[in-house]
Amino acid sequence: MTTFLRLLFRNKLAGLGAVVLGLILVLVLIAPLLPLPDPNVTATGDRFLRPFSEGHLLGTDHLGRDLMARLMHGTRVSLAIGLISAFAAAFVGSAIGIIAGYFGGRIDNLIMRGIDMLMAFPYILLALAIVAALGPGLMNALIAVAAVNVPFFARNIRGITVSLAGREFIDAARLAGLGHTRIITSELLPNVLPVIVIGISTTVGWMILETAGLSFLGLGSQPPDADLGSMLGEARAALITAPHTSVVPGLMIFLIVMSINLLGDGVRDALDPRLKSGALSRPRATTLVDRKGAVPEADQKGLLNLQELETQFHVGPRIYRAVNRVSLHVNPGECLGIIGESGSGKSVTALSVMGLVASPPGVVTGGAVRYGGEDLLSASYESLRAKRGENVAYIFQDPLATLHPLYKIGDQLIEAIQSHHDTSRTEARAKALELLKSVRIPNAEQRLDNFPHEMSGGMRQRVGIAMALANDPDVIIADEPTTALDVTVQAQILALLDELRRERGLAIIFITHDFGVVAQLCDRVAVMYAGQIVEEGPTMAVLDAPAHPYTKRLIACVPELGGGRRELATIPGLPPVVDNLPEGCAFAARCDKASETCRTGTIALKGTAREGMALEGMAARAVRCLFPEEAI
């Protein structure tokens, strides 16, 4: 609740709306206690007195009634009617929406077609028809306004409910023995309530206007009672001669609706989880670079060389050290594996290379990324953009999410080619066809005109690879490209990547959590834990004789086919959260070899790599451990 209020008042306009609305509410609530004349007493001798006349602060109307008193009472009535009809519409509409969305099928169809029919009439006509049928009067105007707004809530809530009803927790509730009524009230309702509140807060203002409209036409409040609409209606005849009689209620309607709408928008923003997480704030085009220390000197290693890279996420007062001084390099034709569990920083490392970490909250706080000697972190956006895809390309885990669903895959490939090369569409299309063939897509000619959803997962990932190859990059960074695929398809994709790197001399950085994949594809491997590299070296050396206790125990956790039924080795505990890393070794808390020295100071990555023994072609081995399992 307090976070809700804080979020709400961070929005200045919403705060203003709340203050104005609060003042109006207090004023009309204490109206009976104020020394105001009776709003319904006529005095035709005093008609059309101007504002600030004696005894009548806002003047009088065509029957000589005090405008201030009428305004206070009229506002009371209008606000009450608006709020009641909003709650009534929300209640009925949401009930209909939840029932239609939860049961689906025929019930849904029947209810929603009824709602559609209601929506087919212009709302004011419908309201008029209802009032005409029920007879004029405030109560009937309320019913009409509420009824007209039911479809809005019904459609909104039905949409939310449909997506919730397919969620697994609803199935779980059913298996736990809950009936339909209880599922709706105890499982669905708490989840749709915020949406209902948002709906109410954004429609109250509108409903006050509609009630005023009906009263203006003489169908709402009946004389001598006042509401804002009927005051306007009565003042219409004297619009020119006594404008204040229209301006006073008009201004009040304006203030109420304005303040309610501002507050309503604030409520919506504060309650909407997407806005809360900042997902709708547009990230910068490249990751923010704010290097505290000196930029490391170029050390002529590899085609792509990451030196002491540090990437952090700054969320409020917390600093998450996602990537903590990571150094990596990859040579042409080489495949480097980065292996680690979720949260180990392997994906953030990969995205930092081309400045693709979302900022805010991501910030590169140190190190350098050198491509052919040039530091990409200090490069301008234009030069970085020219290199994305052209020199360094990415393959992501889920091709369905990375391919645009509304464009044919051929057009997407052509776009990728044309954004870097000034070629004609025909040439680009020929190149796209050649790319699809090179990733072994059968019937490539026809497949160019397919949409992503028309292809299987394996085929889509091949398109993802073709897209990465579109501009003949030198480096491909593949972030778990086969994790979402079936094993038989994974085997094909891995074979394809291996072939491509041998044919084209591609350098591949392959991010995965699967030791089997690393063993089959990668020449060298780096193991990451809590944002740091804990071990690196030639793949077979690391897998055969892991030096870091984490690597050793992680390998032991993985069941291997052919091992039979058995108890599996485990690592107790969980990886540390990177906003609160312990001093010393991050793995110490889960390690059975840890001693006091492991929990102090900084533990360096030591091995042949750091002593300068690495010769060209001879990969180095290193481990970040005081008591390694194997001597290096």
Binding site: D171, A172, V487, G516
Partner: protein, 318 residues
């Protein structure tokens, strides 16, 4: 004794009838299949996406009405009218641990539902039982008053298992229970499941796409392809000496440390289309041994060797 027996269980999802003409025949997600699970056994079910393993699981726990066939639990036929009747006998552990917990309820509220609805326990009895279950899945009691988003995947999956246990079922259907988890956590959950099985005398149906995991936990394994059972056998034999070419393909596709990278099948093979299923054996289009017989006649599941059945016209030797 048989804990679970299904006979000729099938599910066909109807397709929308076009405006003109007659309705298409529908997608046969699960073709008629029969097998049984002994009490205390773990039956592994493997297959790739679209093979019908989740549809089968949802039918077993009563979330989906079978098109035909029947389910027997402990010798009694169950009819599908009452999900609560299923709930006391058979429970389900979901693949995605976080999305199977209602984000707006505390863990205690989630845990209490099956105790109250399926077993009608009063408040003190529910509290006692909740504490017992939480202790058995190695979770701290203070977690009970937190909300699902505060937990890691591994912890959330233990909560999901705890909720399934709260119903005191005889059978648990575990639908990819560890595939959303990291390897180090995956092993913790698998070992926990093994302990719970011994402690509560449970029967498991363990569904996964990961052959190594299935082999590590199962007594017997069922291999599904395109909605049908293609092979059943003991876990230690089925991947070592597969009879069906598809089982062999699966076993050879799993990446293994120390095996060279080779694509085990032709690069252009396409999977069968569920809207337009091929006649005969569904695997024929991908199979190097396929003959004319395979393309016309659907093979039946028949015994091959000791405790092993396969649906193939030309089973592999050895």
């Amino acid at each position: 004794m048989q804990a679970l027996k299904i006979s000729e269980l099938a599910k066909t999802f109807p397709l929308a009838k076009p405006l003109f003409g007659k309705a298409p025949p529908g997608v046969r997600a699960v073709r008629p299949m029969s097998f049984a699970v002994e009490k205390g056994e773990t039956l592994g079910i493997v297959g790739e996406s679209g093979c019908g393993k989740s549809t089968l699981a949802r039918m077993l726990v009563g979330l989906l009405e079978p098109t035909k066939g029947q389910i027997e639990i402990a010798g009694k036929a169950l009819d599908t009218a009452d999900p609560a009747a299923f709930g006391r006998l058979i429970q389900y552990v979901f693949q995605d641990p976080i999305s199977s917990l209602n984000p707006r309820k505390t863990i205690r509220q989630i845990m209490e539902v099956p105790l109250k609805r399926l077993h009608g326990l009063d408040k003190p009895a529910r509290d006692k039982r909740t504490r017992e279950i939480f202790a058995s899945v190695n979770l701290r009691e203070e977690f009970l008053d937190r909300y699902p988003h505060e937990f890691s995947g591994g912890q959330a999956q233990r909560i999901g298992i705890a909720r399934a246990l709260a119903a005191s079922p005889e059978i648990m259907v575990l639908d990819e229970p560890v595939s959303a988890l990291d390897v180090s956590v995956q092993a913790q959950v698998l070992n926990l499941l093994a302990e719970l099985k011994a402690q509560f005398n449970l029967t498991y149906l363990f569904i996964s796409h990961d052959l190594a995991v299935v082999e590590a936990v199962s007594d017997r394994v069922v291999v599904l392809y395109f909605g049908s059972v293609v092979e059943i056998g003991r876990a230690e034999d089925i991947f070592k000496s597969p009879k069906h070419p598809y089982t062999k393909l699966l076993a050879e596709s799993a990446p293994v440390v120390g095996r060279a990278l080779t694509a085990p099948e032709q690069k252009d093979s396409e999977l069968p289309d569920p809207l337009n299923p091929p006649p005969g054996c569904a695997f024929a289009g991908r199979c190097v041994h396929a003959t004319e017989l395979c393309r016309t006649e659907e093979p039946r599941l028949r015994p091959m060797g000791e405790d092993q059945l396969a649906a193939c016209h030309h089973p592999l030797e050895g």
